[in-house]
């Protein structure tokens, strides 16, 4: 056991840090560190910079254009990017559909989609949840019926993150209603620009247009857009779920947020002294910091073991989102009444929500509310607990 990074890992960190320092656009990092909303272009610009350096696909194997980094290297990369205020990499293409295409897709699909994901030419979104099936994914109703050389898709997806930017959506659709629910599901790649696809915004808690409903009305999808075999979509979706859980932990971003929280606590006052010196707030902050430190060690423990994380990775999802939510709450609390003013303009374009409140205060309550989603998405924390209870604890 040696919990120090190796000299190689340290050198790697230095290399990443220098690159990010030199290339991350200041206007973008200012938005991230100020908790402002990012535009599509902000994400794409940064992704293209990484692509240019060959670092866009940290988790991909080299043969597909990935970095071939170890899991620990990937974590270091994530941490350095997060610390500097880089935007998160939109995961739907890079970390979600890509591994499925690599593992189960046709050669043609690999040749077509993987390069366009690397280059950020295609923006992907995820078509899993439906109004009637959230946690119980297998009950989904969107249907794809074969007609000649294409499927005709009808139905509705919901909770589709950033669908308004998307060029492609990967969907779970029902291709067979005569078999057991899990067995009639297929994995389809659909062009968002195809006729019959409509996107309707759902506004979140904080009035952000981040998720959507996506309607399919007689949408024609070429048969070649089926991934793998018909009826195997459930298997592919489960494969993907395992990929999602470690990434969702968010240790890098939480460390950055903790640092920002400490700055705020140093600036805000309570009882006529800095909030950071208030014993009650100190305890609360330190407890979250300790939880995060333990979580970082848990993540590294999982990542540095050579075996692929199994269902116990659900622990990372649960604790990771608990820490994230605790941080957003403490940040809001640190502001006191200055958390109250709300301004969409301020969140989107910068500035303060109220003349007498500091700029950094403007997005924080909204962010607290927005972050309630983290214990719901990616398999709600209740579903994660079910998974652990059954697959790890054998209950």
């Amino acid at each position: 056991m040696d919990l120090h990074y190796t000299p190689e890992e340290q050198a790697f960190r230095a290399e990443v840090r220098e690159f990010v320092r030199a290339r991350l656009p200041r206007d973008i990092s200012a938005k991230v560190l100020g908790h402002r909303r990012l535009a599509k272009d902000d994400y794409v610009r940064w992704q293209k910079i990484l692509h240019e350096r060959g670092w866009i696909a940290a988790g991909w194997p080299v043969e597909h254009g990935g970095t071939g980094w170890s899991a620990v290297q990937q974590h270091i990369f994530d941490e350095e990017c997060a610390a500097a205020g880089a935007p998160r990499l939109i995961p739907f293409g890079l970390n979600m559909v890509a591994p499925v295409i690599m593992q189960f897709g046709s050669e043609q699909q690999k040749r077509r989609y993987l390069p366009r994901i690397l280059s950020s030419e295609d923006w992907w979104c995820q078509g899993y949840s439906e109004p009637g099936s959230g946690s119980d994914l297998a009950s989904l109703k969107t249907r794809a019926v074969r007609q000649g050389d294409h499927y005709v898709v009808n139905g509705q997806k919901t909770w589709t993150t950033l669908a308004q930017y998307a060029d492609m959506i990967f969907c779970l659709v029902r291709t067979d209603s005569s078999v057991k629910p899990q067995e009639g599901i297929s994995f389809l790649l659909i062009d968002m620009h195809a006729p019959g696809v409509t996107v309707r915004p759902l506004y979140l808690y904080d009035e952000e247009h981040e998720v959507n409903e996506v309607f399919f009305d007689d949408v024609k999808v070429p048969l070649e857009n089926l991934v793998g075999s018909e009826g195997k979509g459930w298997t592919y979706a489960k494969y993907l779920l395992g990929h999602e859980r470690t990434g969702i932990t968010g240790v890098g971003a939480s460390k950055r947020e903790l640092a920002l929280l400490k700055e705020i606590a140093a600036q805000q006052a309570k009882d006529g002294r800095p909030l950071a010196a208030d014993p009650v707030f100190r305890q609360r902050l330190a407890q979250v910091e300790i939880d995060l430190l333990a979580l970082e060690m848990t993540l590294l423990r999982v990542l540095s073991s050579r075996t692929k994380p199994g269902p116990e990775a659900s622990i990372l999802k649960i604790k990771g989102t608990e820490v994230q939510q605790a941080l957003t709450e403490l940040m809001m609390d640190a502001l006191g009444p200055l958390a109250l003013p709300f301004s969409r303009t301020a969140i989107e374009e910068g500035g303060s929500a109220a003349p007498l409140a500091p700029d950094y205060a403007a997005p924080l309550a909204a962010r607290y509310f927005n972050w309630r989603k983290t214990s719901i998405y990616g398999g709600s924390n209740e579903i994660q607990r079910n998974i652990i209870a059954q697959q790890v604890l054998g209950l």
């Binding site: 949840s129 009637g132 099936s133 959230g134 946690s135 119980d136 009950s139 919901t158 909770w159 759902l202 506004y203 979140l204 808690y205 904080d206 009035e207 998720v211 805000q268 006052a269 309570k270 009882d271 006529g272 009650v280 707030f281 609390d333 006191g336 009444p337 200055l338 958390a339 109250l340 003013p341 709300f342 301004s343 929500a353 109220a354 003349p355 007498l356 409140a357 309550a365 909204a366 607290y368 509310f369 927005n370 309630r372 989603k373 214990s375 719901i376 998405y377 709600s380 924390n381 209740e382 607990r385």
Partner: protein, 378 residues
């Protein structure tokens, strides 16, 4: 020991409940919140007509001479609809300060108009950097001739932009955090040197930041004793906190009802999700929160106007502390139990959860009131 409402209170409650239910449905509220003013003049006029605005004021001032419990009844029902009209700001806080400290002439000048629904008030006591401390006052009132000149800054003034008259705390003596030396003043919103910036708050209300730059006031603008404004200010804010807690009861009960309804109707894995024991137990904890809050709010309502300062502080701070903790817990659980839809503005739940959470940020948060309770209970 009697927890029942009088027949009159029950009738009034039922009338208000019906009014809120009819006039303040989800879509109607959405429109009101999005309007330029941010609240509805029509609803306000109806509240005036129902006598709701007269509740806490003495009969001599044209009021109904209602008790803290009467106020609780009103606020609970407003909370059930998460109404955004400035009842708290105008009637309880601003009106409360005038009632607590005003001379007969001041009361006569302000309260009948308020009760009639024609005049809006606001209480500008909070300063940036003062967090929840009423005595942390930097705004200054300098004597000049028979009057005063006010300068300073007041933050998150609830209903500031639509108030005709602002009750402003300013320092006439002493250092920044001294308890002595605070004086209340009546300031017309349009007075020279007053600048107001109106904004939305995240829980759907309107507040304003206020900059006072050499505002000249006559001697008749002084509300209550010079240098001794902290006591009436605290009384008004305590009444406001008790009322806000009562609002929270309405919000919690409605949010719990919405959540139960969702648990009963939303199906996953072939059954209503309310059949899952883990969710059932959490729903029970939400009920326990609701019952505990309801109980302590009765106590706060009963003691909110008590002459015994320690009793008043203890009861109000107990309630506000518990409302802060339990309200946040209920809001989180309601959101989580609603799943994905719980974090969108499509369903009422998110709106209730936002208001419920942010109630902890107005008029002293849970930590602040817990410490105040401890001090009053020593």
């Amino acid at each position: 020991m009697d927890f029942t409402l009088s027949e009159e209170q029950q009738l009034f409650r039922d009338a208000l409940a019906k009014f809120v239910q009819n006039e303040y449905a989800f879509e109607a509220r959405r429109k009101i919140v999005a309007s330029a003013q941010g609240w509805s003049g029509e609803v306000w006029a109806r509240l005036a007509a129902m006598g709701a605005l007269a509740v806490p004021f003495a009969e001599a001032d044209g009021g109904l001479g209602g008790s803290g419990v009467d106020l609780m009844v009103v606020m609970q029902e407003l909370g059930r609809g998460i109404a955004v009209e400035p009842y708290l700001a105008t009637v309880v806080l601003g009106g409360g300060a005038v009632a607590a400290a005003g001379s007969p002439a001041q009361r006569q000048a302000l309260l009948p108009g308020l009760i009639a629904g024609e005049r809006q008030l606001a209480l500008a006591y909070a300063e940036p950097g003062a967090r929840h401390d009423l005595h942390d006052v930097q705004a200054s009132a300098r004597r000049e001739g028979a009057g005063y000149v006010l300068s300073g800054r007041k933050a998150t003034v609830l209903n500031g932009a639509t108030a005709d008259t602002l009750v402003v705390s300013a320092r006439t003596a002493g250092a920044r955090r001294d308890a002595q030396g605070v004086t209340l003043f009546l300031v017309a919103r349009g007075a020279q040197g007053v600048s107001l910036s109106d904004y939305r708050t995240i829980d759907g209300l309107r507040a304003a930041d206020l900059v006072l730059d050499g505002v000249r006031l006559g001697a008749d603008a002084v509300l209550g004793p010079v240098d001794g404004g902290l006591a009436p200010l605290e009384r008004a804010v305590d009444l406001g906190a008790a009322a806000l807690c009562a609002e929270a009861v309405g919000v919690i009960e409605q949010l719990n009802a919405l959540t139960l309804d969702y648990l009963r109707t939303r199906r996953q894995f072939g059954q209503p999700i309310g059949r899952f024991q883990a969710l059932q137990h959490r729903a029970v904890d939400m009920l326990v929160h609701a019952e505990q809050v309801k109980s302590i709010v009765c106590l706060a309502a009963s003691a909110a106007q008590s002459a015994d300062e320690r009793e008043r502080r203890r009861a109000v701070s107990a309630a506000k502390s518990l409302v802060g903790r339990s309200g946040r817990a209920v809001a989180k659980e309601a959101t989580q139990l609603h799943g994905g839809m719980g974090v969108t503005l499509e369903l009422p739940a998110a709106h209730y959860a936002k208001r419920l959470t942010m109630i902890d940020f107005w008029l002293g948060d849970s930590d602040w009131h817990t410490e105040r309770f401890a001090a009053a209970s020593a």
